[in-house]
């Protein structure tokens, strides 16, 4: 592991902790099943009731038997990235849940949307190779365009959580 990698590691680990704790406080972290949060078990996510709809949807979605939340919603390129995203999400989740001040309906944000799409490609990269010759159709780097409208989920929005309309 290179010097740089080490740094990244350390930094990430720190942000996991800072993220989780800053959002919730250590006490909250455990009560709200913060430890479970670090696992891959979808049950970890529904510990927060605000994730209930997504959980229910996932259970009825086509990927229920092949992918859990983290397969889609966390990066799998390297562990550092994974932990970093987890930490920053952990921060927002805890903060949002504690203060109950997040906008509803909950919507995936552009950063998480690109993580998501990378995961589609992790499993379906080959079958879509030809149609991706000129880019993923994916989450645009151009913030001017609306993330919601592009990418695999433009057509396959229901794979994770079933139809939304």
């Amino acid at each position: 592991m290179s010097e740089k990698r080490h740094l990244l590691w350390a930094g990430t680990l720190a942000s996991v902790l800072v993220g989780a704790f800053a959002g919730t406080g250590i006490f909250t972290f455990f009560t709200a099943h913060g430890t479970a949060y670090l696992s891959d078990d979808p049950a970890a996510c529904v510990h927060c009731h605000v994730m209930r709809e997504e959980f229910d949807g996932w259970q009825h979605g086509s990927h229920h038997s092949v992918a859990v939340c983290n397969d889609c919603h966390l990066p799998h390129d390297n562990i550092a990235h994974k932990l970093f995203v987890k930490a920053s999400n952990g921060y927002y989740h805890s903060k949002g849940f504690t203060l109950m001040n997040f906008p509803e309906p909950i919507r995936i944000k552009p950063g998480n949307a690109s993580v998501l799409e990378a995961n589609c490609l992790r499993c379906h990269g080959e079958i879509t190779e030809e149609i991706r010759a000129h880019g993923t159709l994916g989450v645009p780097t151009d913030p001017y365009q609306k993330a919601d409208l592009y990418g695999c989920v433009r057509c396959h929005q229901e794979v994770g959580h079933g139809p939304t309309r």
Binding site: T28, H49, M100, P103, E104, P105, K146, D148, Q157, T164
Partner: protein, 467 residues
């Protein structure tokens, strides 16, 4: 603090309805229900808040906006009818009784007790009146029991025939919890006699209603019992039907008891066909009034929201009135239905964004395009109808004979009915954009054909000299 916050949330989620008072079939006052369901009650009270959107609401100034002032052509179109003297933008549910009591349509014209059907909490008043009429049973029996229903219908007939003043003394509240909910379990229910009869008439017609699958299902059964929404409809259907109790086209005149004209279906021409085929007990054909300037026997459309929604893509996609007008809102850990029934444009995120993943500004722009298109066509159609009325008035003055006028009256009736169907509908076309445009296109065609028919006439034969 954070910890207790979370644990509070968890317990909140469980405790959702503390039974503080006993609710029964005679508990009319919403404040009582509010003790058990304070969140719904709080939002229900907020229907007293005024607002306006580009085409919706009635302003926040306290006084309703006059639609006659907004659009003076309506005075011509409604000439000779009560709507020409007073016609306002709708306001929140909190005002329904007060606005009806105070409108000049009531204070300056005699109106029947039937008017109250949609402007008050009258479930109990009807049943009490029914008992007085000799209906069987007691008030404590469930609303949906045969006795309950017999009481309701008998009382409805009786109160409808009373004078408005007398009938109005029997009610105290605007639409209340008991009009939409079963007090035993809070299940949504319909209680308005006009709807109960109207939806059965619709079920008995053969017109397809793919957006109301329980009716399609009932039709395949033996039909021995009437279609009964409280028994047959799905929960999702009820979330629209409960509004369809009032937000519908109706007849509520002096000649027969209030009814919903759904015997041939819900489309504008199907309702017209029902009216055209209808004969009053006195032998007259159906009409709402004789037009003041032309004498044509014409129709009045009132707020056909349920009918228009039925023609739209949302109804077909099983999206209910309540989905948009009573969206879920989070109160702490739980989600409740927002009882501040109002324009969804005031809260696009909860009303629309659960289904449409577009930014709020984009969603509003989409609605505006639809509404602006409708408005432009409506202006065009009203101009055409007003031109026809002017021409007819002139033709009469010029002494055109009555026989020659009849086909033109028929065209005025058709054109006016259509333009009013869209104008009286309160979404400015949103509930069914293409359908609204289609109706207006027909209105234009009929009105212009009427003008043409007049000009085609040979110069008036019976014209008085000097004209």
């Amino acid at each position: 603090a954070l910890y207790s916050n979370i644990s509070m949330r968890k317990s909140e989620a469980k405790q959702r309805s503390m039974k503080l008072v006993e609710l029964g079939e005679t508990t009319v006052d919403p404040a009582e229900w509010g003790k058990n369901f304070p969140r719904e009650y709080d939002s229900y009270l907020r229907t007293a808040e005024g607002y306006s959107t580009k085409y919706g609401g009635a302003g926040s100034e306290g006084l309703p906006l006059s639609r006659l002032q907004e659009d003076p052509r309506l005075r011509t179109i409604f000439d000779g009818y009560a709507f020409a003297i007073d016609f306002n933008r709708r306001r929140g549910h909190a005002y329904m009784l007060e606005d009806q009591r105070e409108t000049k349509r009531v204070t300056e014209r005699p109106q029947p007790g039937a008017c109250l059907h949609c402007h008050a909490s009258n479930t109990v008043a009807y049943r009490e009146a029914g008992l007085k009429q000799g209906a069987p049973g007691t008030l404590d029996e469930p609303f949906t029991s045969p006795n309950g229903q017999a009481q309701l219908m008998a009382g409805f007939e009786a109160i409808s025939k009373m004078s408005y003043a007398d009938a109005s003394r029997l009610v105290k509240h605007s639409v209340a919890c008991i009009d939409c909910h079963d007090p035993r379990n809070m299940q949504v229910r319909v209680t308005k006699p006009g709807f109960i009869r109207g939806i059965d008439a619709l079920a008995r017609s053969s017109q397809p209603v793919p957006h109301l699958p329980s009716i399609e299902k009932w039709r395949k059964g033996d039909r021995s019992a009437a279609y009964d929404p409280n028994r047959d409809a799905s929960r999702q259907e009820m979330r629209s039907m409960v509004c369809g109790q009032c937000h519908v086209e109706y007849y509520c005149g002096p000649k027969v008891t209030l009814f919903f004209p759904w015997h041939n279906g819900l489309k504008v021409e199907q309702i017209e066909a029902t009216y055209d085929a209808y004969t009053f007990p006195d032998g007259d054909r159906f009409y709402d009034w004789s037009h003041g300037r032309t004498g044509a026997e014409v129709l009045k459309a009132q707020h056909p929201e349920f009918e228009m929604w039925s023609q739209g893509i949302h109804a077909r996609s099983a999206v209910a009135c309540a989905d948009c007008h009573m969206p879920y809102m989070r109160e702490g850990a739980i989600k409740i239905s927002d009882h501040q029934v109002r324009s969804p444009l005031l809260d696009v995120s909860r009303s629309c964004q659960t289904c449409h993943r577009f930014p709020e500004a984009e969603i509003k722009a989409r609605v505006e395009i639809i509404q602006d298109r409708t408005k432009a066509l409506m202006d065009r159609a009203e101009d055409a109808v007003v031109a026809l009325i002017d021409a007819l008035q002139q033709a009469r003055k010029d002494g055109m004979n009555e026989v020659a006028l009849q086909p033109v009256f028929a065209l005025q009736r058709k054109a006016q009915w259509r333009v009013d169907f869209v104008n009286a509908e309160n979404s400015m076309g949103f509930h069914a954009p293409q359908e609204a445009a289609r109706i207006l296109a027909e209105a234009i065609d009929y009105a212009r054909q009427g003008q043409l028919a007049l000009r085609a006439q040979p110069p008036a034969t019976g014209a008085k000299p000097g004209n």
